[in-house]
Symmetry: C2
Subunit: 289 residues, 2 copies
Amino acid sequence: MMETRISNANQEVIIGGGRPTVLIGERINPTGRKKLAETMRSGDLDAVRRDAVAQVKAGAAVIDVNAGVPGVNEVELFPKVVQVVMEAVDVPLSLDSPNPEALTAALKVYKGKPLINSVTGEESSMQTVLPLAKEYGAAVVALLQGDGGIAPDPEGRVAVARKLIDRADSIGIPIEDLVFDCMAMTLGADHKAATVTLETMRRLRDEYGVNLVLGASNVSFGLPDRDTINNIFIVLTIEAGATCLITNASLVRSSVLATDLVLGRDEYAARYISGYRKRIKEHESNQVA
Amino acid sequence: MMETRISNANQEVIIGGGRPTVLIGERINPTGRKKLAETMRSGDLDAVRRDAVAQVKAGAAVIDVNAGVPGVNEVELFPKVVQVVMEAVDVPLSLDSPNPEALTAALKVYKGKPLINSVTGEESSMQTVLPLAKEYGAAVVALLQGDGGIAPDPEGRVAVARKLIDRADSIGIPIEDLVFDCMAMTLGADHKAATVTLETMRRLRDEYGVNLVLGASNVSFGLPDRDTINNIFIVLTIEAGATCLITNASLVRSSVLATDLVLGRDEYAARYISGYRKRIKEHESNQVA
């Protein structure tokens, strides 16, 4: 099993190699969060700071940072937000933007080896994002979406992964710096949507041993009680090879700890029990406050 | 994938064959339920009746019945309890007793094809329980525990399964009438305990296509927040091949519906959505009451 290493100025986080699942906290994203978008637009980054601290407290080992606020110049805002999060928490960051100029501006201020979120298998994306990852020595989330869209079957998605691996290799990015997202579509539209994702994950794990990530909340879109579906899907993705998750850490932390435990990755149940004690303690201090 | 059929006087329940997970409600068991044991000892079977109805309402398609009350003659009590449950709910029963005389007495009053819970791979158990299953045409839960105890590895457990399959075959019990329990030990004592179970399940599923059941609550013994661990383990056992679960239906119902959905066994998410609506309705009627 491969190891993907990312870092900030002070520490390294290793994804994979049989380690427990790494949570990449995804709350710093104005998409669908109106209030956060408004404060970010006004230049007030206090909420960003608080969210970053809360995600790390909830168990996130990496923070995903997105500054795509409609009507705001992302090239200016993104590096500022990255700077604020770097100062607020001592963990590596995932730089989340589809805008190559904004990414470049963030990569320039970032200290350490970040995760870029994301490249796709589309020609234009590979041509812009992979050279950036190479230049700044970053790892990168690779979405299995090609010029023909998202393949409906595992074969098609694995073919896109192969293309990404080859292209990365051709410009000197090692395979262990790619973390693949096998794309979860909603079960509301197709009841086989999740099994295609899980099967793609197993194939990539077994054939390449690469690290796999998932943004898991799409899967429940349009269905009731989405948290239950998301949590169950997360359990199954970890079994199928996900070594990290881009997600709200506080919503999934206890499921993920229990999954690592059941899958034999938590000797003496040490992480599970310590996570449980922490939760009890927080609950008690919330009741006092 | 094999189909195991059990029935009561009016209807058949089919386990396996790609169908959604069958819940076998396990609340009718005085072990560890002091109050229930007391009422059963006094001959009051109202609580039994209520529990059976509640389990079916919570989604159990089969009810497990155990009448092992210390100090009470099980040979007399067991058929009475079975009779009461047969009258209370219109679903097949799992007859749960280690006592061959009590089992025989229950089999005599039972109407339909029950599930016997259980035979083990121990010589004495195979010699008493398998002929009973044959004589009464019952299906039977087969625990993968041999004369040497519970094997620490999948190879050892699969060997016990093979022995049980051969022995059953030799007296005319077809393989589809065996439902295997791959034995979950506690993670508190050994952090690889669950992975051994899951690996055994996958091998039996892939090699024999047999139906698999699990009594899943052992796995969390001695650990905090047992419900979280049990629910996660259940998700993973279903992925590994469990087609039915002996469990408290009301505790696991929504996890199991979501797991079936994510694993592509619920077209149009119909069962998931209807389960959700039922839960909301119950919640509302509880608030009114």
